[in-house]
């Protein structure tokens, strides 16, 4: 299923981009907007948790692993403990399997390498469309 076919289902998904790197935030925002996502960006895990505490909700969270204030694994654990059950995808440039495994065990649905590609977004859209 191509991204174009998924978008013609009429669904517009929302995504929260959580990353301390402003370049990654900008690239991912433009990439995700091209796929029809409504995107919102924050700089660390605490801002993501605070957004959910304020009542906001997103279909997808893209969570960076290493961030100041609150990192990805901690934010993911907190969100899951709050009952947040939307898709959370870890995004990391660290290559070690052990680090990705630990991040995944914090409550991720998937862990992918950054920067995201069109192929990765298409796969995520397919998974979101199934839910």
């Amino acid at each position: 299923m191509t991204s174009k076919n998924i978008l013609t289902l009429g669904q517009k998904f929302s995504v929260l981009i959580v990353d301390d790197d402003k370049i990654i935030r900008r690239i991912h925002k433009v990439l995700l907007n091209k796929f029809g996502f409504e995107s919102h960006t924050v700089e660390n895990g605490k801002e993501a948790v605070d957004l959910y505490l304020s009542g906001k909700h997103f279909d997808l969270i893209l969570m960076d692993m290493e961030m100041p204030v609150m990192d990805g694994p901690k934010a993911t654990r907190e969100l899951r403990a709050m009952g947040v059950n939307n898709m959370i995808v870890g995004v990391t440039s660290r290559g070690l399997d052990s680090e990705k495994q630990a991040f995944t065990e914090a409550g991720l649905d998937y862990c992918v390498e950054k920067p995201l590609t069109s192929e990765t977004i298409t796969s995520l859209l397919q998974e979101l469309a199934k839910k």
């Binding site: 790197d21 402003k22 370049i23 990654i24 900008r26 690239i27 433009v30 990439l31 907007n33 091209k34 290493e66 440039s93 660290r94 950054k114 920067p115 590609t117 069109s118």
Partner: protein
Amino acid sequence: MEGNHFQRQAAYTRKTLFDQGYLDEQFIQLEDLQDDANPNFVEEVVKLFYTDSARLIRNIDLALADNSSHFDFEKLDDIMHQFKGSSSSIGANKIKKECTQFQEYCNAGNLEGCIRTFQQVKQEHATLKRKLESYFQLTRQDR
């Protein structure tokens, strides 16, 4: 006629940047995101990189100048990890490779290797900036 000349020069400059290994596939990903809604996206992201990386370079320089008895290689590696990540985001292939070399010296606790490699990192950083500025100038004249 003049437009074609700048177009050809821009295309040649771009090809050279890839052929000489300065840029990789990620730069093409950025170009694919440029459209009417984001007409200067590539240049914008590259400018963001150079602003942000200047800060990281300063931090690494300060960390390398640390004369205390216990040198913090972990802190150095963390800063370099950020720098490498940003470099990867714009497809800065040669910078990324030098960053990887730097991290290897960090992991080995080799301060001299770190200092030497960081000079290479800064050199590649400056060279790419110069080349991209020339390239963007050509693309602007082509419009």
